[in-house]
Symmetry: none
Subunit: 196 residues, 4 copies
DNA sequence: CATGAATGAGTTTTCATTCAT
DNA sequence: GATGAATGAAAACTCATTCAT
């Protein structure tokens, strides 16, 4: 834990600062000084740790995807000790994914921002693409326990993830209460499972 | 059609220019001069027609929502002369909505941008919110033909729209070919209809 | 009263509009459109009647000086039918000048603006200079009735006018009530007259 | 005298640069780049030290008033070691004030500009008001040595200051030589003192 | 490593002026 | 004579980036 980790600790602090800033303003509207202020770090230092604002962004994308993957991993780890059958497992998995990730407002806000950035920035898009591919493969893997056809499982997985992302979007843009987003999530998953 | 329509014609040209610009760059990264260039008008003129860049944005949001509503209206108008029964009508409606709107890449790109803007800008958010409320009400209305419970119809409608928005997002961020988005759309809708 | 006077009438309207605008904003901060709006005239027309904003200004200076001279003339005309002796006449004259011109807030505001413009613009300065020279000559003329030495009368005249302009300034910048400007004016003039 | 004074030194340089610019052009017509050029600093730096052009102005007003007060203080400090009686002191005081401040052309030019700004800008007006109040109180204080009635002393003080400001104005707008401003100043003060 | 002063390119905005109708 | 759309120069301001200390 010498120099290296001090540096690393500071880089993480900067990433978390940006994460916080993105709750308020878009990346474009967030200045380097805003991030520095949130990180309680001199703004000149940001150029020591990262070579440009674009570089901060690129690193941030990895940071967010990693965080999100680890949330996912935590979720998957839990299932082990529950003694659930196939269907129950799937049900629990969907439920947990929806509630902890999809309806997590901080995460959703960041993701809307990342989608937009990815829509215009090919480097970011590639990173996002890879993350979704992984996520979808995992979901498809789970589905295959009850949907034997791999192609069908893949498609259903895609549809499920699309639905979840749509719900994530709505949790930010629309009135979650009025739309009963929680109930929609639950109901939708129940139906999907019945169908399988 | 004298003065008024000259002004209106130019305002529309500016809106279309912005629409075109948003295929390349985000709104923040699109300068007033970029829009002016695309509209082939002097940049000073944009301030003659709109009082600020923010004002251009607000008007553009309305412009997009109107366009999108009229696409929707066209779609609804077509169904009349088809002599379809309830279920067939619903099936055709979902299919058309998915293919013409959800998988329309130009429209999707613009919508991802609008989502992001709405996430940070309350005025835009309110406009977007109203548009989604309307859209969901329409979809729920159609569903009620086969789902008698209004609350259930509303929830299923929300889910369907969430799914479509997720697919719209994927059409831009991911590899549509690889994911077989068209097939996912079709398959998903078939299943939903079977279920009802 | 053919074309000519219609033009003249409109030019006057523009001058009065500027006069009104200067109650709110400095000349630099008053746009051509502001003036046009106040004159209820199309802004393009201002360039028909005057060749530039600078030209409007130059004409306005003349307009104000003329107005002010005519106020002065009215004041002088009144004295005739009063049957006052030399000293009384002078007293009445000072009193009237102070109250009707110096403490006229609209006029004072315009004059502060004109002073500033004259400080930087030689053309305007020359016009202002001539007006003051005339005014001072008139005042000196009156004083000569009780101060036989012409040079002394001239100097006292200069001092009196300086004092009046200072009071005019204070009527805008300071609290007229608190400073008892009216009383200062009266008292000062009484003392000057006693001294002569 | 480390960091702090480097900043302060540069801020002062900017203030002096503006002071110099105002000898040529009005504040409105002086651009930030003009000031930067005069201060021999990068124009972006002006926005580092001051948050807007308005902020530069506000600070400048304080800067000028402070300078002017310190000139005044120097003047007052001198009188001590002169062994003058009351009347002589007053005479010397008026003389010095008139010659060093009122007829100081650089200062007068700046003051005409400040008057105009104050006429339209309430924040500046308040600062100017306070400065005049102070100045008048000092003058009234001196007068009270020979004019026992405080109210009378105050009024005469106001009149004296009004006269001085009028002379200051004339020193810029009119021909000082032709008007014999120096003589007017001296003569006027002599008379005032005789009267008391 | 850390600081914050300095740079300069780029952006929005204003506005006098022109000119076709 | 009007009108108002169009132009383009110039302004204030922002900010990523650099760099001396």
């Amino acid at each position: 834990m010498g120099r290296k980790s001090v540096q690393e600790e500071k880089r993480v602090r900067i990433m978390e600062a940006l994460n916080q800033c993105l709750q308020e303003k878009s990346f474009d509207q967030t200045s380097i000084k805003d991030i520095a202020r949130a990180a309680q770090v001199n703004h000149g230092l940001l150029h020591y740790y990262f070579k440009s604002k674009e570089d901060i962004l690129i690193n941030y994308i990895d940071f967010v995807i990693d965080h999100y993957k680890s949330m996912f991993a935590v979720l998957l780890a839990e299932k082990e000790n529950k003694g659930l059958d196939e269907k129950q497992l799937l049900e629990w998995f969907f439920q947990a994914m929806g509630e902890r990730i999809t309806l997590n407002r901080r995460l959703s806000k960041v993701f809307i921002e990342i989608w937009e950035i990815a829509a215009y920035n090919p480097v970011v898009r590639e990173k996002v693409r890879r993350a979704y591919r992984e996520w979808m493969a995992t979901v498809a893997g789970y589905l295959q326990r009850v949907v034997p056809d791999p192609a069908a499982a893949r498609r259903i997985g895609t549809a499920v993830v699309a639905f979840l992302e749509g719900m994530s979007l709505f949790s930010i843009l629309l009135d979650a209460q009025e739309l009963e987003l929680s109930e929609v999530l639950t109901g939708f998953q129940r139906r999907i499972l019945q169908m399988l």
